[in-house]
Amino acid sequence: MSARLSGWIVFFAAAIFLASLGYMAVVARKAVRREAILGANRILDNTVLRVNGILEDVQLVANNLEGRIYQHLDDPDYMFTLSRDVVLTNAFLNGCSISFEPYYFKEKGRYFSAYSNRIGANVYTQQEGKDSYQYFYLDWYLLPKLMGQPCWTEPYTDQEEFDDKTMDSKMMVSYCKPLIGNDGSFVGTLSMDISLEWLSKTISAVKPYPNSYSILVGRGGTFLVHPDPQLLFYQSIFTEGLVSPNPEIMKLGEDMQDWKEGMQEIRFDDVDCFVFYKPMMTTGWSVAIVCPESDVFGGFHRLRNIIIVIVLLGLLIMYLVFSKLIRKQLNPLRTLAVQAESIAYGNFNTVLPENTRNDEIGVLSRSFAEMQTSLVEYIDKLTTTTAKKERIEGELQIARSIQMDMVPGKFPPFPDHKEVDLYAFMSPAKEVGGDLYDYFIRDEQLYFCIGDVSGKGVPASLFMAVACNLFRVLSWQGNSPEEVARQINNEMSRHNEQLMFVTMFIGCLDLKTGCLNYCNCGHNPPVLFTPEPRFMSCLPNTPIGIMPGYEFEGQTMENMRDVRIFLYTDGLNEAEDQNHEEFGNERMMNALASLSPSENAQGVVEKMHAAVASHVGIAEASDDLTMLCLKLA
């Protein structure tokens, strides 16, 4: 639980961190990007300014020289002096040629190009046009001629061979001006050459980031400055596109070629880069700084990574600390859980650790301890009670047996008196009940009774036992039913502090005459089948046990031969179904009326039992039920 809880805490903390860091990263990245663009543009501006400054110096010198050339157009040999002087006096110049159209100076023939060139500390001057060097077919000569205006050539490598001295190849560029004759026609080209080593160095040195590099491309996209020497002059920004076009690089090339300035994000050799570019309007070239994204965002990424590590470590520490803390906090609970489990398995005497904490867990521990104590006490009590109950239940079973033995249960009851058809049934609602019935024959007199003690269970059963015994003893003495009732009443009401009572119907049937003497002591009036069932007429005597000395009145019915008498306790007519609806007198009478006239006593009792059982259904028996049916043939 501690791990899960800690996990959730860390999860939510991580989510909050992530959202905050994400927002910070986006904002910071934008700021870094903005700063990088500004920085790169500043550097590019400075670079272009520096380069242009030197190129403009060349243009200025050329403009000055042009005027002097025009002053001496009639003196071709002076061109040597002019070209030599200009190279000597301008240290940044590598060479200068003043070249003319074929046969412009007729005396000089097809070729006339006054050329001075600096080699080391010396300046060499010569006429360089010849059959093997027809200068007027070359770019530097043709460009100003065709364009009709001054222009810069594309840079080129120059491998000089001068007076048998061989020089290393150099990157050169020439500023060329067309020379116009007096008649307005093109007469030749003034060309000034400068080495671009300084340019290459200047541009290569532009390195705003550790792994960034600068490139310079010519008008045709040719790499004039590039960190990879294999590409210099040999390859252009479009070369790769000839076989595998890359729209990003093509777009960059086109922008640079169109003298646009800007920034593009391009993937070079599997590295995401920012390319900042700016044109050099003087020459038509374009300079660019390629900065790997990892460099531009290097600081940002380092900071981000550090923060991520710190956050991760923090979250880990948070997880561990919270785990430990929660585990410690929950430890008593865990112990409690183990002990509760132990207690659940019946080890009620498990010793709980003492908890002195005042928080909820302390309260819970103490409550649990108290609960355990209560539980132990309760279990003890329960055990004792259960034992007692079991004993009582055992005793009750015995009592039930005794009680059932107290009422006659042998049927037919009088094998010697075939004329007597009698059947009785008793079912206590609990182990023992308060209903009773009895019968016996003495001197051809059939004494019988049915009764119902107030209340149920053991007290009622004891009361019933007394009533039962008194009935038998007093009846056996030949007393009339009302006398039996009177004496039982007097006897039972004497020490009746519980104020219990019993309703009884006591009858005495003369087997010879068929005359019935009876006394109904507050009991349900029996039903007579004549042959239709009807309630027997009964005087309103009080139940037995209530009023000592009460004078019970008896009644007599003559000629009861062939008349079925059905006696019952209120367990029959007051039996309730699930909805607490009583069986009732009406249902009882209907059930009795439906019986066949030839039904014997046992049949009557059993069918009535079945009828009431059908009414009660699955509801619990609410009262003791006793029925007795009698007929004298």
Binding site: Q134, L138, E160, S191, G221
Partner: protein
């Protein structure tokens, strides 16, 4: 001011140097008509793969330089074999230097005119059109003359920079060389800006391998072996273009040529395409009589040759 482009210029002036007969006994010196590039891949392959050696020919490949063009080396016997366009060979033979065609590699014309102004160059009447200062354009000049286009031909050592700068309205180019150089400079070159001679009834073969008749008569066996091994070299180059390209790049590097592998690979592909006969679709390695006839007709009409050159004159 001897710039790197200078070497190209020196290739063109034909027959400028006086003939200086000089025999080179057992070695065959071969000079292609241009600096080292994939246009001559078959010969480089034959040399480096030992095909010449297997034939028993000791071939030396010497490229033209500042002072010695291929033609001048041939005429001065410094070189025994060279490559020439068919029109060039016809011009030389008709003007008195009998030549023998050992191997006709090209079966098509790769010559085109590319407009700088975004339209059909043949509709640019009076346009300034760049051509190579040294030649190769006899046929084109004749075609233009016939169409009365009045082009102002601007001879230049190289034309690509002039084209890029917009100094010219159009340039003459080879589909395997300048065409790709211009594309490499960022020009898209839509088809309507390109006039292909081959598509307009002037599909005339170009590169072939030549020796002088004089040399051939004396070293017939050697020349035949050289031709056989060269053809094998071309076939091998076609079958193994990557290997051939590796070999070409070795020659390129050795001669400090300002090019790159991609351009050379495109050149090799195009050169090999041009070697297939337009009718049969096969590599035939022969001069087609109809193309020779057309060359003679055009050049006679333009007054470039005094007489037609027959196939028999050029054949071994």
């Amino acid at each position: 001011m001897k710039r790197f482009v200078l070497i190209l210029l020196a290739l063109f002036p034909a027959l400028l140097l006086p003939a200086r007969p000089r025999e080179v006994s057992d070695t065959l010196v071969f000079t292609p008509q241009w600096t080292a590039q994939a246009q001559f891949a078959g010969y480089y392959v034959a040399k480096d793969m030992g095909f010449y050696e297997e034939e028993g020919v000791n071939v030396q490949i010497i490229h033209p330089n500042v002072t010695q063009s291929a033609e001048s080396r041939l005429r001065s016997h410094l070189s025994h074999a060279t490559t020439l366009q068919l029109a060039q060979a016809v011009e030389i033979a008709a003007n008195g230097v009998p030549l023998v065609n050992l191997l006709q590699t090209s079966m098509n014309s790769g010559m085109v005119v590319i407009s700088r102004r975004g339209k059909n160059p043949m509709e640019q009447r009076g346009a300034k059109v760049g051509i190579w200062a040294g030649g190769f354009t006899q046929l084109l000049e004749s075609v233009v003359k016939e169409a009365n286009l009045r082009f102002e031909w601007i001879q230049a050592a190289t034309m690509v920079n002039l084209y890029i700068a917009g100094a010219l309205d159009a340039i003459v180019a080879m589909t395997y060389n300048e065409y790709y150089q211009v594309k490499q400079a960022g020009f898209n070159l839509p088809e309507n800006c390109i006039y292909r001679l081959a598509d307009h009834g002037y599909n005339i073969q170009e590169d072939g391998l030549y020796v002088t008749r004089e040399y051939y008569e004396k070293h017939k066996e050697l020349a035949d072996k050289f031709a056989r091994a060269s053809r094998r070299g071309w076939d091998y180059a076609e079958a193994h273009p990557d290997q051939a390209l590796d070999i070409v790049m070795r020659y390129v590097d050795r001669n400090h040529i300002a090019t790159n592998r991609i351009l050379q690979s495109l050149m090799l592909k195009e050169i090999l395409n041009l070697q297939y006969d337009p009718d049969s679709g096969e590599k035939e390695y022969r001069i087609r009589p109809d193309m020779l006839q057309l060359t003679n007709d055009i050049m006679l009409k333009a007054g470039l040759i005094p007489r037609p050159v027959t196939l028999e004159e050029l054949c071994r």
